[in-house]
Amino acid sequence: MSLSPDFAFTQGSLQDFADCARRFELRFIRRMRYPALETQEPLQFEKRMRQGARFHKLVQQHLLGVPAEALTASLADDAELAGWWRNYLARGLSGLPAQRFSEITLQTHLAGRRLVAKYDLLALEPGGPAIIVDWKTGARVPSQSHLRARMQTIVYRYVLAQAGAHLYGGESIPPERIRMDYVYVAQGAERLSFAYSAAQMGEDEAQLSAMIAAIDGAEAFPLTNEERRCRFCSYRTLCDRGGAGRLEDFDLDEYADDEEDEAFMLDFDQIAEIEF
């Protein structure tokens, strides 16, 4: 079994490969769904995930023209979310260029494969800065070095440099103009920023190409040696790698769930398919 020829790599799938080749194989080659619990506190985990999703939706609604007051009024039932929202309104957009695209997906190609990035927000000014904003709703702010090494930081900047010209007045975006901001709305909208450069882009391209080539050429997908990576992996029982981890040890912001494909992300056809 091998990866489908039209498979699109994302930061999530590449991070899976970086964390554990076996997980990549199970998720993307064998397409195996494995509904075991990720954590010992499934309902709290779910609540966090839903709050995060709702926050992202709120920002999207706001950026598409729904007045902030109308959105604020809808948050009476969730003080925590309302706090994130206030932080966003106070500082989330400060200093960003006026041309903004929320929930936008870009794709480029590398090593014969598609590489796709789904952005929370791109704020650009042709000839000026091109800023990637990623909202984080987790309870802690990781270290700069940890984030720098994440596939999200690598993939998002690279794809924007390669595929963002049409949002930038038709000109390629010089890497030096690109910046990636992680905004921690649960932490007063604290911002961790990562600049970009041509040299960094070259390095990233080499790393990404090597990973894609490694995946395409792989004959085996071994289990990770670092068993701590298994704590929140739903394939634990398949790999015989212990029980679920505790939510307090889990970083929700690193729980990538961006594998939906481009078309019909929300397929909601309500007309039953019936046999005639």
């Binding site: 039209d6 598409l64 729904v66 009024a73 494969r113 049409h166 909601f268 056809d269 005639f276």
Partner: protein, 707 residues
């Protein structure tokens, strides 16, 4: 059709593909004329010319019709930029209502406009319909003369509401439209009145609880979202290039949206398949679609078929003409070479014959199994299995497309549901012995039927699985094996512990816990099993959707035991009874076995088609739906006009005519007719298709010079 997508385009197609970026084109023609190939190539050309992908909208009536576009876009790895949007009216309206909800929820009549909307999947719509109207139905003895089960009744009320929204009339007119066309007596009139009352009661319930079934979602989109400036500006500002394919299979609500977008877009290509519209029973309205033609500056036609050989074309036209369609029959071409048949008395003999013919095609005439399809009006499990078995024995690769089995009937789901009952004795819903046998077989690897029965007979007592040691006879234990006994014990002990701890998990969490802690482990039935994992995940999704919707309701003071109610609703066939949303494809390659309409909506051509059960009435007759009617509730049916027997007859003829035309236009070389005097269930059969074929052949012999 997808077939031509990879072939070089003709001059006429190329000219359309490279038409100036500004301008709107109406492209019509027969199936097999290469229209979709033009659409696909046009999208790629637009992107190649630097049109931003985000500004392109591909709009289709149903997901399967977008496949050639999606495949082309995915296959074009050289693309750098954004992403093309592929939508149906369902997906687009949902996104728009959700996004702009807080601008419109008050005006749209929702009682709690500051709360979130709760979009209902089809199964949840059925569930809430049951909750909202069942007390009324019981109290007033509604529908007492209708002999179909409640879930099917309710689904027809849902269907009526969807039709009203798709066509664009108020739901308060459902009853009067049905009555004025169909009510032949007081009893019938009461039934339609009841259906009307139920629809209104359900709508009121939805507005009170912020629930949006599909009909309300569509209405809110059309009447409210489209009316607010930011929403309209967003859609109009974003989608500058439209590719609309299969517009004749879409409904008036879609046509309304396309019409609106045409006013602001820079380019459009609208593709209309003449003689199609076979999705009418789902609200398709080719006449409404045709009105968009006038909004396009350029009209083009592709009527030359790339698919059919002459005799097949003559066959399609002859059958269509025989059924009264206005197609030109080619009586100077003999259709007989395109028809191969052999009469059989019994159904299994016919299935044998089909398998032999397929084998001959593949082995002796080198036909690829990909180029063969076997269709029937309905594809029963028995027929599908009979075919699959015979073909597999002959080494023919096959794939079977059908709306998948109800989720609750999938073995993994049944097992989880049975074990859920065992683990919740306070529900007082103990599983039957039969269910336990089945669950043990599925849950414990390598446990066969005989031993599962023994375990059940000896150890399933009063709703509990006793320990293996309670089996007094060592001989019996040896027969079952201690290895299996050990795994059985782990299962029984896990359930006992769960009961003792009284966890009270939500049902979806229970499924996940059981799956992770036991069933997916080595030695158990779901271990390393992709299908079981997928089914379990689908069941979890269904149960979680149910919980989320009802959690949401709890703020409105409606308290119920969610887990028990979920399982009860599954039992009643309300939940987990719908076909899964995705079509099941056993494999990518191989001969296709599918219901006829499923094949058509995949929109691809093959060399050979086998039409089975040609004596069946199912080829032309509508499903029995006493509470609804796709034609009376369509845009074209004037309120107040009576629907007569004659209308029904001519509808049957027209439906069959369109179906046969559509099938033959997706066939290159020949049609094999599978006929047996006795049906699958042993009845004589002589339906309209059989009659039509015989008359057509007689007429061709009479009128054709060469026959």
């Amino acid at each position: 059709m997808a077939d031509k997508a990879r072939s070089p385009l003709t001059a006429a197609q190329s000219e359309l593909v490279s038409a100036p970026l500004q301008g709107k084109i109406w492209l019509e023609g027969i199936a097999g004329g290469g229209k979709t190939s033009v659409g696909v190539a046009r999208v790629v050309t637009l992107l190649g010319q630097g049109v931003p992908a985000e500004s392109i909208l591909i709009f289709v009536p149903q997901r399967s019709l977008a496949q050639p576009y999606i495949a082309a876009l995915r296959g074009w790895t050289a693309h750098r930029g954004g992403q093309v949007s592929v939508q149906t009216i369902g997906s687009l309206s949902l996104q728009m209502v959700e996004t702009f909800w807080f601008l419109i929820s008050g005006d749209a009549g929702f009682k709690r406009p500051q709360d979130l909307p709760n979009f209902l999947s089809l199964e949840l719509a059925q569930y809430f319909m049951t909750r909202a109207i069942e007390p009324l139905v019981d109290e007033r003895d509604y529908f007492n003369s209708v002999r179909i089960d409640r879930p099917r009744l309710y689904s027809q009320i849902v269907d009526n509401m969807n039709k009203a929204a798709l066509v664009g009339f108020p739901i308060s007119e459902i009853g009067s439209r049905l009555k004025s066309a169909l009510a032949s007596g007081v009893e019938q009139a009461h039934i339609f009145d009841d259906a009307q009352t139920c629809a209104l009661a359900f709508r009121k319930y939805c507005l009170t609880h912020n629930l949006l079934d599909f009909s309300l979602q569509l209405e809110v989109f059309r009447d409210h979202v489209w009316a607010v400036q930011p929403a309209r500006a967003y859609l109009r500002g974003r989608f500058k290039h439209l590719i609309v394919d299969g517009v004749e299979e879409d409904n008036p609500a879609s046509h309304f949206l396309i019409h609106e977008l045409l006013q602001s877009c820079e380019s459009a290509l609208i593709i209309y398949d003449r003689d199609a519209g076979f999705r009418r029973f789902l609200g398709a309205d080719p006449d409404s679609a045709r009105r968009l033609r006038d909004k396009c500056e350029r009209k083009a036609t592709l009527d030359e078929t790339f698919v059919m050989e002459e005799a097949v074309a003559a066959l399609g036209a002859g059958l269509g003409a025989q059924l009264g369609l206005s197609v030109k029959a080619e009586w100077d071409v003999d259709p007989a070479p395109a028809l191969i048949t052999e009469a059989h008395r019994y159904h299994p003999a016919m299935v044998d014959w089909v398998a032999r013919q397929v084998e001959t095609l593949v082995r002796e005439r080198d036909v690829s199994p990909n180029d063969i399809v076997i269709v029937a009006p309905f594809m029963s499990d028995a027929l599908r299995f009979g075919l699959a078995d015979r073909l597999t024995q002959r080494g023919i690769p096959l794939r079977s497309h059908r709306p998948s089995r109800a989720l609750r009937d999938e073995p993994a789901a049944r097992t989880l549901l049975t074990l859920a009952r065992l683990a919740h004795p306070h529900w007082n819903m103990p599983p039957t012995d039969f269910d336990i046998v089945f669950a043990l077989m599925a849950a414990i690897k390598d446990l066969d039927l005989v031993r599962a029965k023994l375990l059940t007979e000896m150890l399933y007592r009063n709703g509990r699985l006793l320990p293996f040691a309670e089996m007094r006879s060592t001989a019996m234990q040896e027969r079952i094996t201690f290895d299996i006994g050990e795994r059985y014990d782990r299962l029984a002990a896990w359930i006992d512990r769960y009961i003792d701890r009284d966890r009270g998990d939500a049902i979806d969490i229970f499924f996940r816990r059981l799956y992770g802690a036991l069933l997916s482990r080595a030695g158990f039935g779901f271990h390393d099993d992709v299908d079981a994992g997928n089914t379990a995940q689908n069941l979890v999704d269904s149960a979680r959707g149910f919980r989320w919707s009802l959690d949401f309701m709890s703020r409105y003071d409606e308290q119920i035991d969610l887990s028990q109610d979920y399982v009860k609703m599954v039992d009643r066939g309300v939940i987990a009874n719908f076909y899964l949303r995705d079509w099941i494809a056993d494999a990518e390659e191989g001969l296709l076995i599918a219901p006829a309409y499923t094949f058509l909506l995949n929109n691809r051509a093959v060399d050979y088609q086998f039409w089975l059960n040609i004596g069946s009435e199912g080829w032309s007759r509508r499903l029995y739906q006493p509470l609804t009617h796709p034609y009376v509730l369509s845009r074209g049916w004037p309120p107040g006009i009576l629907w007569t027997e004659e209308d029904e007859r001519s509808l049957s003829r027209e439906t069959l005519g369109r179906l046969l035309l559509a099938l033959t236009r997706r066939c290159r070389k020949a049609v094999y007719l599978g006929y047996s005097e006795l049906s699958e269930s042993g009845y004589e059969q002589r339906g309209l298709l059989l009659e039509t074929i015989q008359s057509m052949l007689r007429r061709a012999a009479r009128e054709g010079p060469n026959v």
